[in-house]
Amino acid sequence: MKKTTLALSILSTLIAATQVQAVSLKGNDISGMVAAKAVKTIKPAAPIKSIKPSAPIRKIIAPSEGDLVIADLPDGFIEKKAVHFSQKISPNSHIALQQQGYEAVSDEYWFEVTGEQLNSGVDLAITTPGALIRLSGKKVKGEFAPAAIAIDPEQIELSKGNNTLSQAIEQTVSQEALATANIFPNSSAIKLNKAIGKGDFKLKVKQKLAANQRYIVNVKEKGSEHKLNLALPKQSYIQGETVSFDAAISNSKGALANVTNHAYVKMPSGEKRTVNFTQANGKYQVAVPNSLLATKRGELYELHIESKANDNGLTIRRNAKVAFAVAKPTARIQGELTMRSSGATVSLEVASEGRYEVSGLVYGTDSTGKQVPMMLSRSAYYLTPGEHNIELRFDSNIMKSSGLNAPYTLKNIRLMDQSRMALIQNL
C-alpha cells in the first residue's frame, strides 16, 4: 500500500502579548494574521522545526500583561480528564468567524407597582388601540400562591381624565385560564377595546389587594408602529471592557427625537444596578459594574433600557433588554503556536485553576486554490496555575478524507474556560 504523506504547512506565529488592551479582544481572524507556507513531504505527526515564516509575523491580540485574574472554582461538575474531539466540517459551510451582535426590538413596556398603587390607580400610556395588559403577581421570600394574589380581570377599570370608561375592556383572561398555556402561572390579562383609542389612561383594580404585594404591569402593543430598538455589537466581553450600544425609539417614519433613556444592568446574581451612560461616536457606552454576589456559572448580564418619548402629544413608553457575558481573563494563549499534522501546540498562561478548552477550525486548500473549512478540533485539559504547552489534536483521518491539500490554516481559535463557562479569547 502506498504510503500517504501529508503536505504540511506551518503556522509559526509569534503572539505578541504586550500592551494590547483587553477591549480589543474580539473576533479577529487569525488566518489573515499568520504566515502559512507549504512544507515538502514531512511525516505525519512529525513536529515542524523552527522555520520562520516568509510572510511578516502578525500579532495575535491578547490581554496585556497583568490582566489575568485569579478566580475561585465554581460549584458543580468539572471534568478532570483530558478530552480531544474533531469533527468533519463541510467545505460549503458558511461560518461566521467574528462575534455577532444582537438587536432587540420592543413593542412593549413593563413596570413594577404594589397592590396599594393598583387599588389607587396607575398611569398607562397606550399607543395602539387594542393593547394587551398583563398583571403578574410576584413571589417574595417563598410565599407564592398564584391564585391568592391573582387579580380578577373583571375588577379592573380604566379611566381617561376624570371619566371612568364603561366599555374599555374587550376581553378578560383570568389567572386560571391563562395558566393553561403553561407559561404564565400567575398572570391575568385584559385586552383593551379598540374603540377607546390611544393616549394616557389610568388603570385601577377594585378588588382589595395586599398593600405591599408586588405586581408587574406589562403593556404589550403588538403591531404598534412605535418600537424601541436596542442593539449590542457583540454579546461577549472581557471584564473591564466598556459595553457600547445603540438605542432608539422610532415610528413608521423614523427615529424620534428627545427620547429619555434610563439604563440599568441586571447582574447574573439578579441585582439591578443603575448605570450611567455616555455618548461617543453616535453610540452609547456603559461601564459594567462589578458584582460582589456569587453567581451560577453560565448566567448572563442583561442591559435594560427604559425609554420614553413624545410623538405629537402621544406618550411612548418602551422597555428592552439584551443579554451579554463578561468573562474573567483567567488564562491566555501566548508565545508560539506551532502546527503539525497531528495538531497544534499552544502555549497557555493560566492564572486560575480550572478546565480549559482550545479549539480551532482547520482550513485546507481546494483544487481552485480556495481555503475552505474541513475540520473543527478541540482539546480540553484541567490545568493548575502556571505555564503550559498543550496540544490541540487533529484527526488525520478527517484531513486525509477531506480531499483538501496544503496549505492548511487554523482559524477561529478559541480559548474557553469551561469551569467558569467563559469565552476568554477568540482569535
Binding site: E79, S93, A96, E112, S136, Q171, T180, I183, I216, Q235
Partner: protein
C-alpha cells in the same frame, strides 16, 4: 471445492460484512423535572407506537432528568449523559437515534456541541446517527422573556420572581443567541452539529370547542392562546415561533405538510400521538 477452501471463503465473507448495527432510541423530554416521563410527558401510546419502528423494539429508553436546570448543569446534560451511557452499554447500541421535544433539543445540542466538557460525551456523540427534534426551542421564545419581567434579587428580600426555572431563563431569546453563538453548534453562521439534527415544526394551534382535534393532548383555553400569541409570530405552535423551531440543524417537515388532515401541531401535541405524528416518526427511525 474443499471444506477448507469453503471455510476460508465463508470467513472472508463474514469478515467483510459490517458488524450488525444495534439501533437504539432515546426519548428526551423538554423543560421540567421528570421522574416518569413515559407516562407524564410522552404517554405510553406515543412511546410504544414510535419504538415499534426499531429493528428490536425493546432497545429504547425514556430519559428522566431535571431539565428545569440550565442545559450545562450536571442535573440536566450530566444526567442525560449518564442515562444514555448506561443505555448504550447495557444494550450494545451502535446506532443511536435521539428523539427530543422542546428544550430537550437544546440539552442534546449542548452534549453534541461540547464534546470535551465531559469525558462521557465523545462516546455518545460517536453513536448518534440522527436527532429528531420535535418543536425544538433552538432560538428561545419571547414568552420566556415576558415571564422573566421584574425578576430581580434584592439583598433585603431575596429573589422577587414570577417564574422560577433556570431552563426558562436560558430560553430567553437574547440568552439563546449568546449560547448559540458561543456554546452551541448548528445555528446560522456556526459549524454544523456532528450528526443530523432535523426538526419537526409546529406552525399553528387549533383551539376551538367545536373542533374535536383541539382536544388531542389536552385543551388550552382559547383566550390563553390568544394572549400568548401577542408575543409570537403568526407561524408558531403556541409557545415557540417557527423561526426558533427551525433555527438549528435542518427542517424535516412543517406539521401540516405531513400530518393527517393537515392538522397543525401545538406545542403540547408535538409530543403525543396526534394526527399520525407517531407513525411518521416510526417510519423514519
Amino acid at each position: 471445492m474443499t471444506k477448507k477452501t469453503a471455510l476460508i471463503l465463508l470467513s472472508s465473507i463474514l469478515l467483510t460484512l459490517p458488524a450488525l448495527a444495534a439501533k437504539g432510541l432515546a426519548f428526551i423530554h423538554g423543560t421540567g423535572s421528570q421522574t416518569d416521563a413515559y407516562n407524564d410527558y410522552w404517554t405510553g401510546s406515543f412511546v410504544n407506537s414510535v419504538r415499534a419502528g426499531l429493528p428490536d423494539s425493546s432497545k429504547y429508553t425514556v430519559i428522566n432528568c431535571d431539565f428545569d436546570q440550565y442545559m450545562w448543569d450536571s442535573r440536566a446534560s450530566g444526567c442525560l449523559a449518564s442515562q444514555l451511557t448506561t443505555f448504550i452499554n447495557n444494550n450494545g447500541i451502535t446506532d443511536l437515534v435521539l428523539l427530543t421535544h422542546s428544550n430537550g433539543g437544546n440539552v442534546v445540542r449542548w452534549v453534541m456541541s461540547n464534546p470535551t466538557w465531559d469525558s462521557r460525551y465523545p462516546a455518545i456523540i460517536n453513536k448518534v446517527s440522527k436527532v429528531i427534534a420535535l418543536a425544538p426551542s433552538s432560538l428561545g421564545t419571547p414568552l420566556a422573556d415576558a415571564v422573566q419581567q421584574g425578576n430581580v434579587f434584592e439583598t433585603t428580600l431575596g429573589w422577587i420572581l414570577g417564574y422560577d426555572s433556570n431552563a426558562v431563563k436560558q430560553q430567553q431569546t437574547s440568552w439563546m443567541a449568546y449560547y448559540n453563538q458561543n456554546w452551541l453548534l448548528g445555528t446560522s453562521g456556526r459549524p454544523a452539529l456532528p450528526a443530523t439534527f432535523k426538526a419537526v415544526v409546529g406552525s399553528d394551534v387549533d383551539s376551538a370547542f367545536w373542533d374535536g382535534d383541539s382536544y388531542c393532548a389536552g385543551y388550552v383555553y382559547q383566550v390563553a392562546l390568544e394572549t400568548t400569541q401577542n408575543w409570537l409570530d403568526s407561524c408558531s405552535d403556541g409557545f415557540l415561533n417557527c423561526s426558533s423551531q427551525s433555527g438549528a440543524g435542518s427542517v424535516w417537515f412543517y406539521d401540516t405538510q405531513r400530518t393527517n388532515g393537515r392538522e397543525p401541531l401545538s406545542h403540547q401535541q408535538s409530543r403525543r400521538d396526534c394526527f399520525n405524528l407517531d407513525v411518521i416518526i416510526r417510519n423514519d427511525i
